[in-house]
Symmetry: C2
Subunit: 146 residues, 2 copies
DNA sequence: TAATTCGTAATATTAAAAGTTACATGAAAC
DNA sequence: GTTTCATGTAACTTTTAATATTACGAATTA
């Protein structure tokens, strides 16, 4: 399967939107993210449903952040995207008859569940504000070098 | 993408082989694992390359475990399979120009790397012997009930 | 030598993400 | 109020990676 890159995508879009301040259209976002306006709308639509961004139609419409950057974490975004499957590795059968397979699945599920919990915990501790600050640090360093 | 279920598969096969004692053919393993003999050979071949199992051709040939169940961990199997991609979630571009995307990727990579480290560490602590014991416990419980 | 079983290349299928096309709906500007 | 811009969404196609299948060669045993 392809890997799901929506979290990365949407973060990218949000930071650009945060820098900008005014609404950005799907078209603009799509160009900058090397994708398609419809994909942008689909993905951002999920964030809108979660109350993180707002969309407006017609001229001067577009997408805008409505949530407080300090209170939105990457975990919130993950949730807004519908809690996509984390692992590319999984059990062959989910509820097998065979006792051998049950023992195997139990052990694997355990390890994977713990890793997932750690990941989500980590995501829950990173706010958009922090990422934005991170970007500005990089930007400053970049300008100094140039 | 489909999820990679080879680790689960191969574990299943190994435990059955451990119970059995004598060589099992790809055909037998395939039937029991609901898959194809060629898939079994391909996958088990990787384990053979890692020195975990041995294969023999011709009549009375087949697959057999040659490693000590106490010293083989799930991490060893993961490695033998070629360290397959762990996450179904990833960055859109791996080495982006855009500083915004760089900041995003850095944060995500960090969290994912930690989760992966935890997972592999966990896998490294589970031996085949322990799984086998686990199975036998389940089996005993099953027989008591029946 | 015949039967069995692995080894492996080439090809096809499947599952899931991402991209595309097409068109309806709504809001702003004039 | 008509034109223009932009989102909303359904339907379909493409891409990617895993898995499955077919076919046949090579080695081993009896
Ligand atoms: S990479 Fe940020 S502008 Fe497209
Ligand atoms: S599930 Fe096939 S026999 Fe273990």
């Amino acid at each position: 399967m392809k890997r799901d890159s929506r979290l990365s995508s949407v973060l990218h879009a949000l930071l650009h939107m945060a820098e900008r301040g005014e609404p950005m259209t799907s078209e603009t976002l799509a160009v900058c993210m090397c994708t398609n306006p419809v994909v942008v709308r689909r993905t951002m639509g999920l964030l809108r449903d979660a109350g993180l961004v707002a969309s407006a139609r017609g001229p001067s419409g577009g997408w805008q952040i409505v949530a407080d950057l300090n209170s939105v974490t990457l975990r919130d975004l993950y949730d807004a995207l519908g809690e996509p499957t984390v692992f590319a590795i999984g059990n062959r059968h989910e509820a097998p008859q065979c006792l051998v397979e049950q023992a195997v699945n139990a052990a694997l599920d355990d390890a994977f569940a713990d890793a997932e919990a750690l990941l989500l915990d980590r995501l829950g501790k990173i706010t958009l504000a922090r990422l934005s600050a991170d970007f500005n640090r990089r930007y400053a360093a970049h300008r100094t070098r140039a």
